[in-house]
Amino acid sequence: MRDEAKIHGGDTPPPPSAPTPEPFIRIEGVSKKFGTFQAVKDVSLTVTKGEVFSLLGGSGCGKTTLLRMLAGFEDPSEGRIFIDGEDMTGVPPWERPVHMMFQNYALFPHMTVEKNIRYGLKHDPLTDAQRDARVREMLELVQLTPFAGRKPHQISGGQRQRVALARALARQPKLLLLDEPLAALDKKLREQTQFELMNIQARTGVTFIVVTHDQDEAMTLSDRIAVMDKGVVRQIGSPTEIYEYPDNRFVAGFIGAITLFDGTLEQLTGDMAQIALPDWGGSVTAHTLPNLRARFQDGLAAGQALTLALRPEKITISRSKPDVANCVAGVVRDLGYFGKDSLYRVVLPSGALVLVHAVNARRTGESGRVADWEDDVWLSFDPDAAILLDGLHP
């Protein structure tokens, strides 16, 4: 299902958001209050067996609280959590078929790598030989066999991360919770570890729920993502759905770079909308997305406040006026050259700033660039490239 989600993209409407043949984890109307602070507000979602599901959001959005409720460290104030059909209300952490990989890994400092991995196994009805075999298997899985006798402070950060993973997987949990699994690693190690993590997930088939604040991490790791803000889930969907078909302005702005323009719907023919966009000094046309139509049912009519969102890579920048409907003139205010691509900040006559991203497909000298500082340029976009959002709700 991972591949299916990844190749999907482009113009066709996304597949239905929750492909749930057998909901393995079911969170039903869960809320959590700490005193007067509401950390999680009425969250409902399901996770399928074998899925990698991410909870994505900034700090304080409630993602970690939700994870801790799944692990049993916090009790929901309201609502219920089911894991593999079993109601987890009142089930203590030590009886849940769930293991967690902690953000700082929480390895036992007084135990060797091997003893750390073996720790959970003593609660399972196994013989010592079976335990040995399982520990060996885990050490091999994370490629740490030569380090079995070391203490956690004698190995590197990346190795500690793998010990934590092996320890959490040793008892064959139904669900593995990962709290910012890559946050403590440096950038280079992070990429490598990310692939290792996915590899191990594919081999073991364990359901992963990952908490992260890093959108790149969420985009590459996950089958589906729940974007959270202030304790509320703002959208659940595959990485493509979240990126290309955001439900609301918060999600559009949170994932990737984007420029938002406020406008008013002038005319709707089929799914082609004509929008008055003061920042562009006129009208533009764009296709409405299925989720916008779903939100308004048939109530979408002229005069409705809409937000037009444009991703930097979906805007074309050129020196001469292109022969398309949606175009506007501007001046390059800033230019970031990254080699393979460039990022432009273009200021429109109305004063609005637009982010434009262009791939440097041809080798050009300093003079041969598409545009330079203070150059007059034309910006344009395809009606399919824009995202139309409800302008009244964040």
């Binding site: 007084h110 959970g120 609660h123 030569p146 070391r150």
Partner: protein
């Protein structure tokens, strides 16, 4: 001409690195003057011969320079051996009780909210604001056969046991029980504070990790908290055991005069018997005895720092 140059040299030295040398040297000088020097005097005294002079000892005579009779008596006279055994047993029992009482209190200190923690820490330290002697006298009052405390306990005791076992008062005073009780009361903060300092540094997510891996809270304590708190336990135990073993005031005031503790014996030898060499011999023996647990502690600490498992393959 040379004087100003020298003065400038001294100032120069002081500003460059003298101040740090002085800082580092201060505690060593302190220990040298106030610990090592007196100890050497006591050590020398323990080899002297008792004389009816002032001070009541001298070197020479029958045993020139080294008079080992003091040390010999330590092994022959059962009074000293019994005093040593009583001291070690009382101090050991008090240390274990302090640990059993202090550990849960230290654990509670780190589990409560920050506001409560400050209040409770204050309460732990509060007894130090009253004179130690006064507090021991208070216990004497409580344990005496006419006190309300003793009467209360006696009443409870008599209500439970058969009538022919009934007592007029529980004989608490002048017993090892009283010594251990007051020692535990006095030294409990010295157990709680190092334990608290140790437990406070422990990472509570480790407890959650152990729970997550299937351990119940008691198991988590046994597997995770206890092994990590061993340095705190040792530090607290030493802080209680060493002074408790040499304690003078408590056994003198509430202890059994027929079975004195070693501190009392040293004091009696010095003052009543005026046998300073003998008193010094006992003091030296006590010190040697106390050095062993200290050595065990530093050995453990060194082992924890330079773990032999560090030599793994890489």
């Amino acid at each position: 001409m040379t004087a100003p140059a020298q003065k400038r040299g001294l100032a120069h030295w002081f500003h460059r690195r003298g101040w740090s040398d002085v800082m580092i040297a201060t505690p060593y000088v302190w220990l040298l003057v106030f610990f090592l020097a007196p100890f050497l005097i006591v050590l020398a005294m323990s080899f002297a011969t008792r004389t009816p002079t002032a001070p009541p000892f001298s070197f020479g005579g029958e045993h020139p320079l080294l008079n080992l009779t003091g040390y010999a008596r330590l092994f022959h006279d059962t009074l000293y051996i019994r005093a040593f055994v009583t001291s070690l047993l009382n101090a050991g029992l008090a240390t274990i009780l302090c640990l059993l009482l202090g550990y849960p209190m230290a654990l509670a200190l780190i589990r409560v909210s920050a506001g409560w923690r400050n209040v409770l820490l204050m309460l732990v330290i509060l007894p130090f604001w009253t004179s130690f002697l006064l507090r021991v006298y208070a216990w004497m009052g409580l344990m005496g056969s006419n006190s309300w405390f003793n009467k209360l306990l006696t009443g409870a005791y008599n209500a439970v046991v058969p009538t022919d076992w009934a007592l007029r008062a529980i004989p608490m005073m002048h017993s090892n029980f009283a010594v251990v009780l007051v020692t535990v009361y006095t030294y409990l903060p010295f157990m709680i504070l190092p334990l608290y300092a140790n437990l406070e540094r422990l990472d509570l997510t480790l407890d959650e990790a152990a729970m997550d891996l299937g351990s119940r809270p008691l198991r988590v304590f046994w597997d995770v908290t206890l092994p990590q708190s061993i340095p705190g336990i040792i530090a607290g135990a030493l802080l209680v055991f060493i002074p408790a073993a040499g304690e003078l005031v408590i056994p003198s005031l509430v202890g059994d005069a027929a079975r004195p503790m070693i501190g009392r014996v040293i004091s009696d030898e010095f003052s009543a018997a005026r046998d300073w060499p003998m008193a010094s011999s006992i003091a030296v023996a006590l010190l040697v005895l106390m050095v062993f647990p200290m050595m065990a502690y530093s050995h453990y600490q060194a082992k924890a720092q330079h773990d032999p498992t560090a030599k793994g393959t890489s």
